[in-house]
Symmetry: C2
Subunit: 380 residues, 2 copies
């Protein structure tokens, strides 16, 4: 039985505020999970993550099983101890990465054999193995192993893939047994709403501790993503946390919270930081631009992060151009702080019953109509 | 007139303990200065440097004048504010980098014209300009612009180069005028002891706030470096700080302190860290080695740095192999902590009149005879 409890605290339209209560800590929702692919949120220490407001981070089964391998992590007493992160951890199952990163894949009913991008070895990952790895990592939230449907896909492809994911989900639930970690199911079905609804129905019948929308952000138009979130998010079980995997920009998040999503993860804040794309209150700054060469102002005068308290745009531009590690650090601190502060503003808006107003202001300031899908910011 | 005061507190053989008193802070000597080439000690924040015990750092005139340029730094109110470092800063003059990094050099009495490694432009640097740049940077300790003698060099080459450096030193002193920063002279003369002594004599006659040994660590055998330090260090003026530029390994530092040197700078701790060479109490660990793959122990169980308090060798190895920024960070924190803790041990040994014993133990533990020059550790 899971030791996770999901408390729903408030609703404001479809938007919800709540908290995940777990032995390693509480997570206020809607929550953003910084991505710690290789047992580190790139360029940050755990203390810096905590200071930025992170309550939960994500680890990648696919990457960690390949390097350094689960044996050494288990010998450290799990991923928390290995990477010195004491708060809750969610691990994905590797399904998405097998699809997006691995070459020479062979998919069968049993699972997937693929070539390791680290050393070229043949590696097998299937439902039981994905659960075993996540147990070895000692994740607080475990994801089922799923087959990620490509985009575009025919209805037949999407249906077959969705059904395979359902059979794998059932095997994951068996393999997970009465392990105390929470286990989340993942809704698949490509871009076909009826397939998605069938996937959701069958997963709900199996019963999971939380439900995720997977197989999105795979190349589809933004409008299609938004349409699916709008239809599906409100239909995910009310009493369980709802997780939109791998999404997204600040705009995506505000939109999806408005449809009832509770949890997000995305590499955008950290990856964009390393590329010098920095979020400010109302826009994005590309710090390498010449216009910042002499700019002695902080990145965002309204931001209270360490970077904005102590450094100028000109200094950040200099570090970025000089390819200095401190540049990646300061940029990452800022972007992660931005995302987590945004979640705080979102929760506060829900608390005060003014989320709709908050979202309208948010999109208006950016000159964006979320329904049109014409989102201007944060492309990867 | 300089606002720097050098207080000699204690002697133990040739070794000395003292402090540099400056408006921006005191520096206990013997001191190690981490190198902040491009307005950042690579991978570290100023707060982390302070926590590691740094009281002064070094900035590079050559790099900073090329990128980002001194104009923008001046507009920030100097290098301290630009990089958020509030304690004393020493800047080198660019003489060494013109020699080691620039292409298409043309040396004349006036100075050096070279091709910028950043953008290929022709750049001029001479005594007056080097002082002007260091004033723009608002350095607390300014170095004279010198001509670095190549190794090997004939006696005639070394003599001509040394004499040019002397004429430039006099012009630097004029250009510096009554600026409140300290100005240090640099002893040159290649590997010729008598030329070095003449350089020293003439610089002393001009009168500087401190004296440096320059043009070393340029490819000469270690035994030759040690021989020159042994002859020259005790002859540098007693009442002024003595600075051995660009040196060196922990062994080099212990040796040179024993000859009366007060100040050091070197990229070894930071560069070695990024390459995965990590200092422990008695040796060097190459963290990428397979032997550490499963090693759950801290890097150095005796070390109290953040890295050793929270992470295992296996984790550090994993980060290094995965080319993670956090790896460079944790390794750098540790190595800089190691160097600064070593200086602390050195000062403590002098304080208690047991430096000779300390140095003997230090070399014995490493199986090194410093007089033979067969130093095994920390090669760059």
């Amino acid at each position: 039985m899971t030791r996770m409890k999901f408390e729903r605290l408030q609703r404001d339209g479809h938007a919800r505020r709540g908290q995940l209560v777990m032995p390693r800590g509480c997570v206020q929702t809607p929550a953003f999970m910084p991505v710690g692919t290789a047992a580190t949120v790139k360029a940050m220490t755990p203390e810096e993550l905590v200071e930025a407001g992170a309550e939960i981070i994500l680890g990648n089964t696919f990457h960690l099983m390949l390097r350094p391998g689960t044996g050494v992590i288990r010998r450290h007493g799990g991923l928390h101890r290995f990477m010195h992160w004491e708060r809750p951890l969610l691990t994905d199952s590797g399904g998405f990465q097998v699809w997006s990163l691995a070459k020479l894949r062979e998919i069968s009913e049993r699972g997937v054999t693929f070539q390791s991008p680290v050393d070229g070895d043949a590696v097998f990952l299937g439902p039981e193995r994905a659960i075993e790895v996540q147990h070895d990592l000692d994740a607080d939230i475990v994801m089922v192993f799923d087959d990620c449907t490509p985009y575009p896909a025919t209805r037949e492809q999407a249906e077959a893939s969705m059904e395979l994911s359902l059979r794998w989900a059932a095997r994951c639930k068996d393999a997970h047994g009465d392990h105390p970690a929470a286990l989340f199911g993942i809704v698949q079905g490509g871009m076909y709403t009826d397939l998605r609804l069938r996937s959701l129905e069958e997963l709900t019948a199996m019963g999971f501790d939380g439900y995720a929308l997977g197989g999105l952000s795979v190349g589809e138009p933004k409008a299609l993503l938004y349409e699916l979130v709008e239809v599906l998010a409100p239909r995910l079980p009310e009493e369980r946390p709802r997780y939109l995997m791998g999404v997204g920009t600040p705009e995506d998040i505000v939109f999806a919270v408005g449809m009832g999503i509770d949890m997000f993860d995305c590499v955008l804040p950290t990856r964009n930081a390393r590329n010098g794309w920095l979020y400010t209150r109302d826009s994005v700054i590309k710090i390498r631009n010449a216009e910042f060469a002499e700019d002695t102002r902080p990145l965002d005068p309204n931001c209270e992060c360490y970077t904005c308290r102590h450094y100028s745009r000109a200094y950040l531009r200099h570090l970025h151009r000089s390819n200095e590690i401190l540049g990646a650090r300061l940029n990452t601190l800022h972007n992660v702080h931005y995302y987590l502060a945004l979640m705080d503003q979102i929760r506060s808006a829900i608390r005060h019953g003014r989320f709709t107003r908050f979202a309208e202001d948010f999109f208006a300031k950016r000159g964006v109509d979320p329904r049109s899908g014409s989102v201007i910011l944060g492309a990867s």
